[in-house]
């Protein structure tokens, strides 16, 4: 197994691990300082005692921005795997997807100031962070283009993991594009602290990450428990989640644009219709999330047995039995063929 034969899932987790190692200790120390500050009643961040609250924000966001990349990169890895399998094609631009994962990891550390445009920091600082944030959107866009190019002229089928992947590409793109509005300092001054921000991050987190998690769960469920779940229920749940999600969070973009602040317990009455729409969507979404819990659990115990490779996917995990043995392999395999070695598309058409 060489670096360029690794599945993209591994590349994504490698990048995630790098971010976690470098970023998490910083938020740990921020929390330690806050905790000790509270105990000793002295201010390191408390302005009344000569402390600097902006310092806390810097230390906090230095981790918390890379944290969102910690959350999304594994999801992107899952999507790469699922799209390759259900398009029966090697991911377009494998090297670029791998390099973009690393690029996101590195660039993600130098954009934290875009959470602080309105803190009174210097305009020049804001300009730099704004530019760098635009720059960090590029690797994510590269990945989205690569996924769509993977599907182009592939033999695409619409199993439920693939439905979730479609949802991911659409919703993550919307979330990412609205992130660009927020990274533009001029518009962020108006949108900061409004529901636009809330909608943006729910699109990338729920529409992106949770959807990718569900895609991965469904894709690998037969491997995890050796049994297949009910595909019609899965499709139904996927569509219901998509509908509920959009009904919940699209109105929130409008609310933010119209000026409704976030974290406020009350709002002007003219926003009520949109809020009620959002709550209705949330009810649908909440119900829809329970459906996979039910049929996946049912499948674990009583589903039909799935073989080692029900999706006819490429990858070492599909070569071993479902569920795997404790030590996975009797002999460490030697990987000589390239990753995602799907054949010519006529041969791989899945009925």
């Amino acid at each position: 197994m060489s670096w360029m034969r690794l599945p993209l899932f591994i590349w994504a987790h490698y990048a995630t691990g790098l971010i976690q190692i470098l970023g998490t200790p910083v938020v740990a120390i921020a929390l330690v300082l806050v905790a000790v500050e509270r105990i000793m009643h002295v201010g390191i961040f408390d302005p009344n005692v000569g402390g600097d609250p902006i310092l806390f924000q810097h230390i906090f966001w230095f981790y918390s921005h890379p944290a969102v990349y910690i959350m999304i990169l594994p999801g992107m890895g899952v999507i790469s795997e699922v799209i390759a399998c259900f398009s029966r094609k090697r991911p377009f631009g494998y090297e670029f997807i791998a390099a973009s994962s690393m690029g996101i990891a590195i660039l993600g550390f130098i954009v934290w100031g875009h959470h602080m445009f309105v803190t009174g920091q210097s305009v020049y600082t804001g300009i730099v962070f704004s530019f760098l944030t635009f720059f960090v959107a590029v690797p994510s866009a590269i990945k989205v283009f690569n996924w769509t190019a993977t599907m182009y002229k592939g033999s695409v089928t619409f199993e439920s993991p693939m439905l979730y992947s479609f949802a991911f590409i659409g919703l993550f793109t919307i979330g990412g594009l609205t992130g660009l509005f927020l990274s533009t300092m001029a518009t962020d001054v108006a949108l900061h602290g409004t529901y636009f921000v809330v909608a943006h991050f729910h699109f990338v987190m729920v529409g992106g990450m949770v959807v990718a998690f569900l895609a991965g769960l469904h894709f690998w469920w037969p491997k995890i428990c050796g049994r297949m779940y009910s595909e019609p229920w899965a499709k139904f749940a996927a569509l219901l989640i998509f509908a509920g999600f959009n009904l919940t969070f699209l109105p929130q973009f409008v609310l933010g644009y119209l000026g409704m602040p976030r974290r406020y317990a009350a709002y002007p009455p003219e926003f009520q219709v949109l809020n009620v729409l959002s709550t209705a969507g949330a009810s649908i979404l909440g119900t829809a999330f329970f459906i996979p819990m039910i049929y996946l659990t049912y499948a674990w115990f009583w589903g039909p047995k799935a073989g080692n490779n029900p999706w006819q996917a490429k990858g070492l995990e599909w070569e071993i039995q479902s569920p795997p043995t404790t030590y996975n392999f009797d002999v460490t395999p030697t990987v000589t063929e390239e990753a995602y070695n799907y054949g010519p598309w006529e041969e791989n058409k899945v009925a």
Partner: protein, 228 residues
Amino acid sequence: MPEIVHDVHEAEAEKYVKHHFVNSAQQMDADTLGMWTFLITEVLFFGGMFAAYAVYRDLYPEAFAATSEFMNVKIGAANTAVLICSSLTMALAVRSAQLSKRKALIGFLIGTLIFGSIFLIVKAFEYHAKYVEHLIPGPNFHPDNLAPQFMHHSQILFFLYFCMTGMHAVHMIVGVGLLTFLIIQAYRNIFNANNFVTVEMIGLYWHFVDVVWIFLFPLLYLIGHWHW
């Protein structure tokens, strides 16, 4: 990492390989990578406090310079020397493990333990002295002979002092615990030329804690004693 040349049969080394590793070289690689990764996270962890220190020192240089008069440079220097000696004994302990010298290993580990304990005891006396002199930030903070305009900001320095040296002391205590574990294992003759990675890794950790102190000492103790 030193190149260990030993002519022990390969099968001897394989006895100590855990089930999920292919051979002892891979295990050593993984263990080393794991420990260095952890140390990198520790660098970031202490780095946050160093960053806070840098920011406040930049904001309030006179307060910091005035406050450093309260730090006892002699004790700090003595502690530094003690810690450097402990690093020496630790390195010698690792070498003894690599050469399967059990008695030397135990001796050097005990030496490291003694030096580390001396450091902690001296630190405890130092903290007690600060407590007696009302230098702990909070409601009872009132240092003698400090200009009143520095009162607030000097508390920040002391806060950072206690946080940074306190966090360092916590790491030392963990290190002392690990050393105790090592001594017990060495007594049971666990370590030899084929199985010394544990000693080496804990040695890495100990050296790291030492290096953190090497940075702490000048920044906290020596700053005011150097004038523009």
